[in-house]
């Protein structure tokens, strides 16, 4: 309850901050439209030469694109800004102020900063997903939708934990901004179904940089090509990653030496 109230306060703060720069909204809308145009244009080009791609039909890959933008937008909206701010505050010592507050520091760090306008990506991703669903029509049952929702939530948790672990490295190495770039560049691979990729790359994208759980698995659930066992696997990985990143955070924050100490 307290956490929800904190979330509301931080979001309100971020919103009033964003509203001071309203032109940014238009700029971001423009960039976002370009991004979507590129993604969908690429798909149109590929599917002008083929009916299926690695066993996926055009609407299924469009759904994947929607998921790709929803998860990517959510990361850019909440996770990335918070983690970047964490790294900065470790370096300049302002993390002191977070650690002394009577709220769990991991939660507080996660609420630190929001890029409100990046929500545009999430909304556009939802729109693309809606179009894909309409094209897929009756093929999507209630079970599929349920599995999709669970897979998406699990994928989100996995991506969050992964980012938190990367950012936590700053307690030891201080300058880790570049490591964050690894996720951003490899996330691009999530645009396409991971079963297209050769084994080594699929392994990398599933277990080392968990892009597949956040993009391909939810999209697979939606098109009804996976059952509950894979969803359970996804949930298991999510639970494991959440616990692991929590432990990592606990150990890491004990390494923090502060600015004035």
């Amino acid at each position: 309850m307290r956490i929800l109230r904190l979330l509301a306060i931080h979001l309100r703060l971020a919103l009033s901050g964003a509203l001071a720069y309203r032109a940014d909204f238009l700029i971001h809308l423009f960039e976002s439209l370009l991004e979507f145009g590129t993604g969908l244009g690429g798909l149109a080009l590929v599917f002008s030469h083929t009916q299926t791609l690695g066993g996926w039909s055009a609407p299924e890959v469009v759904a994947l694109t929607g998921v790709f933008f929803i998860v990517g937008g959510a990361v850019r909206f909440a996770v990335q800004p918070a983690m970047e701010s964490l790294i900065e505050s470790v370096r300049d010592g302002t993390l002191d102020f977070t650690l002394v507050k009577p709220v769990d520091s991991q939660v507080l760090v996660g609420l630190k900063r929001f890029e409100i306008w990046k929500l545009v990506d999430v909304l556009m991703g939802l729109a693309v997903l809606a179009v894909a669903l309409w094209k897929l029509g009756a093929a999507v049952g209630l079970g599929d939708a349920l599995r999709f929702a669970v897979a998406l939530a699990a994928g989100g948790a996995i991506v969050y934990s992964f980012w938190l672990m990367l950012a936590t490295l700053s307690f030891w190495f201080v300058r880790v901004e570049n490591i964050l770039v690894i996720f951003q560049s490899l996330y691009e691979a999530g645009r396409w179904p991971v079963n297209l990729y050769p084994g080594w790359l699929r392994f990398l994208l599933t277990f080392l940089v968990p892009v597949a759980f956040a993009t391909t698995v939810p999209a697979e659930a939606l098109s009804g090509r996976i059952g509950w066992e894979k969803i359970l696997l996804s949930l298991g990985v999510a639970a494991g990653m959440l616990v692991l990143s929590r432990l990592f955070w606990k150990i890491g924050s004990r390494h923090y030496s502060g600015a004035s100490a």
């Binding site: 080009l45 083929t50 299926t52 560049s185 691009e188 297209l196």
Partner: protein
């Protein structure tokens, strides 16, 4: 002339030192460079696989050869000048460059080449690894391989000039991200990065012939792979030359206008 050479050599040393300073950043950054052509290579191979092994006259091996060659060409020609210029203008660092008795573009070219001297071997290794994994069908003719080198040099000059002019936009707007993105999207489709240009639908294929982007990437790649006849190659060289001249003219005019707009921090 000797003086200019000395400047380049000196700039080269500075850039080498700078690049070595950020080795880890560079390694991480290379991932993105290799990943993009790799993704399209995989996607188009899958398309070929799903359609009896060939699409638009190209099989899996042809796509592998195309995108591996593209990786190399792209690495030679790419620039990061638009971010650099924006940073320079915003922080007023351009003032120092302007005080030097030489046009700042020389330092930019030297820095670009110096950094690539270090990164290119790494990209070459990556290309070698991709070649082992994807078995490209590479059978060029001898004249086209010879013609490839000048076409690559011209492609570098053309792209450098084009992106240097684009970077001047930072004198007029601080929203440089949107400008860059619009440029990248256009280049992605019309230079041959997303697919070999022969696969574009006809209105876009027509546009790709009018726009400059093809001559920065698709043309040298096609030349290297022996997919062009001598007539097409000659046409390509002329187009590259004409675009470079045209853009240099625009650059001259814009640079003067830009300097008049420039007001440094603290002045």
């Amino acid at each position: 002339m000797n003086g200019l050479l000395g400047v380049y050599l000196q700039q080269w040393k500075i850039s080498l030192a700078e690049t070595f300073q950020y080795r880890a950043a560079m390694a991480i950054w290379l991932i993105g460079h290799v990943l993009e052509p790799l993704l399209y290579l995989v996607v188009w191979s899958a398309v070929a696989g799903a359609n009896g092994g060939r699409v638009g006259g190209m099989g899996r091996g042809d796509f592998a050869a195309y995108f591996i060659a593209l990786l190399l060409v792209n690495h030679v020609t790419y620039t990061w000048i638009m971010w650099e210029m924006e940073h320079r203008i915003r922080h007023g660092a351009l003032s120092f460059a302007l005080l030097k008795p030489l046009h700042p573009v020389h330092a930019d070219i030297a820095a670009n080449l110096a950094s690539k001297l270090i990164t290119f071997p790494v990209i070459l290794l990556a290309a070698g690894a991709l070649a082992l994994l994807f078995k490209p069908a590479f059978h060029p003719s001898s004249w086209s391989v010879l013609a490839f080198l000048p076409s690559l040099l011209l492609a570098f000059l053309l792209r450098f000039a084009l992106e240097w002019v684009l970077a001047l936009a930072a004198f007029w707007t601080t929203r440089i991200g949107a400008v860059n993105q619009a440029y990248f999207v256009t280049a992605l489709f019309f230079s041959g990065q997303i697919a070999p240009l022969a696969l574009l639908p006809s209105p876009m294929a027509f546009l790709s012939k009018i726009l400059p982007f093809r001559w920065t990437a698709g043309f040298p790649v096609d030349l290297l792979l022996g997919r062009l006849d001598p007539h097409e190659a000659l046409h390509g060289f002329l187009a590259q030359g004409a675009w470079i001249l045209g853009i240099l003219l625009v650059a001259r005019v814009l640079w003067r206008a830009a300097l008049r707009r420039y007001s440094a921090v603290g002045s």
